[in-house]
Symmetry: C2
Subunit: 308 residues, 2 copies
């Protein structure tokens, strides 16, 4: 088990303890409404849908069917619940709250809302937003949906993207290879030039997005009439393992070919092994290498070419 996993296990357990205590503090006699927690949950679910069926609900809430049956009976006796035989299944009931049932639910609902609002009222709006995000994320990741890998999308650039490209390059190359800030400056110049002299049919920026945030980039720019240049190919660490590098390069090559270029070139450095493999797979050939000192490092630059 690595460090993050240990930390995450601890976080899950700590959070469970925290939340158990927290819910417990809200009280068995929920919000002073005279409802037990389970009764309240059942009533809540009944209020959400008009065609519940007992077995289904028992499964959804993880309740004993016998126990649920008695709760529903109690509700029915109080006139809160209308039980009609299900037309599709003669054994099952269709459960529907009556108007009286809704009236009984309302104070509970409001107390619960009030409870949540009380917590929120202590928070400034941006923190409220973060709480919203945190809870949504936590729920998604703890439940089975967390398993679903987010689907990355590739799109063209829009406002804020160039800055992100620059920042991502600056961070990644500084952390991984110790390149200094002149590299970020170079990327900023390339990006600025791209925006300034953008040739719609001949140039394109591909931004990969994962979980709604930029996670990768690739640029096609015009080198000369017959030559396209591939630049600024990058995939953030958090987005690795999705084959995004390959997809971005394929998109870029595909665009360049469709735009009528006779060949595509790119400049990179020999230390970028993962990228190298992608270029080879797409048919690029190494045409030249030269040593240079840039960004505070001794590097070996490489020129690659792909003839269509």
């Amino acid at each position: 088990m690595d460090a993050i996993e240990i930390a995450a296990v601890a976080a899950i357990r700590r959070f469970n303890r925290f939340h158990t205590r927290w819910v417990g503090a809200l009280g068995g006699n929920l919000h002073g409404s005279g409802f037990a927690l389970t009764e309240a949950r059942v009533l809540y679910e009944l209020a959400q849908r008009d065609d519940w069926q007992a077995a289904e609900m028992a499964k959804a809430l993880g309740l004993d069917p016998a126990y649920l049956s008695r709760i529903l009976q109690r509700f029915a006796e109080r006139g809160w619940l209308e039980r009609s035989r299900s037309p599709a299944d003669g054994r099952a009931w269709r459960l529907k709250l009556t108007e009286a049932g809704r009236a009984a639910f309302r104070p509970l609902d409001e107390a619960s809302s009030g409870q949540a609002q009380a917590i929120l009222s202590r928070l400034a709006p941006p923190q409220q937003g973060r709480l919203l995000d945190a809870l949504t994320d936590a729920e998604r990741l703890l439940s089975d949906e967390g398993m679903v890998r987010p689907v990355p999308i590739i799109r063209e650039h829009r406002a804020g993207d160039m800055g992100w490209v620059i920042s991502a390059h600056g961070r990644l190359y500084s952390e991984e290879y110790g390149w200094d800030l002149t590299f970020e400056a170079l990327v900023a110049e390339i990006a600025a030039k791209f925006l300034r002299e953008f040739k719609p049919g001949r140039e394109r920026c591909f931004i990969a997005e994962l979980d709604g945030a930029p996670a990768g980039s690739a640029f096609v720019v015009q080198d000369d009439e017959a030559t396209a240049k591939l630049r600024l190919v990058l995939v953030e660490k958090r987005a690795q393992g999705y084959g995004l590098g390959k997809r971005l390069v394929q998109e870029a090559v595909g665009f360049a070919r469709a735009a009528g270029y006779a060949r595509m070139v790119l400049w990179t450095n020999d230390i970028l092994h993962a990228a190298r493999a992608i270029y080879i797979a797409e048919g690029f050939k190494l045409v030249a290498e030269e040593r240079h000192h840039s960004f505070g490092q001794d590097l070996v630059g490489q020129n690659w070419e792909l003839v269509f």
Copy 2:
């Protein structure tokens, strides 16, 4: 109640329902260990510290003292617990798990860890990291600590910051004022030039950080020997209300003054009302205005000056 608050209230309630069901699914007979949830919680707490006192623990876990007393008795009968009179208080016991108690706790502890690991094992490492963050955030925000406003810090730039500055400008001005991408290009050029021609004692970039992420910027650059220029002053929406704009400008002015400049100038647009107030407060005077068409908009540029 505004939109975010409504969404957050819903998220809290939904999460509570989710987590209740989720914990319920782990079972009253916790992890098949023969422990009830509360017993397990008590045992867990006992395992964490060697000097618990019953009343204190009852308060911490929100338990009825009588109930807790009986649980502790049961543990003591099984030889899990050593109860000695507290030296400081003749009424109280000092509670300490025996070796047998620890042995009884171990399988429970492992089951709980295993439970958490089972959840994590379905997630890819980056998602595990996000879960960790989400749970930590959620706990902090739901508990009282959430009330503590994060303290913004102001620091100099480092790798990735210029890109962030560009991105933040691009996003903000596009969203708020509809400026096109040529503005982001301009910012990128300014930022690139700053990095390229950085004059340490004479120029500085101030980055405001909130909650560990960049949230604002201000730059001092050399215009000529006697003139400093204030550029790229921005505070993200999420960081508004902390007085960061004012602090950034003050830092910048203070630096320029200390660096020996005779005056400071800045260029801005008349639509930026909030910024205007800050400049006035710091002593800047409007010296010129001119209409111009830039970034796809008709604008009125303003030159401000502060003579030291």
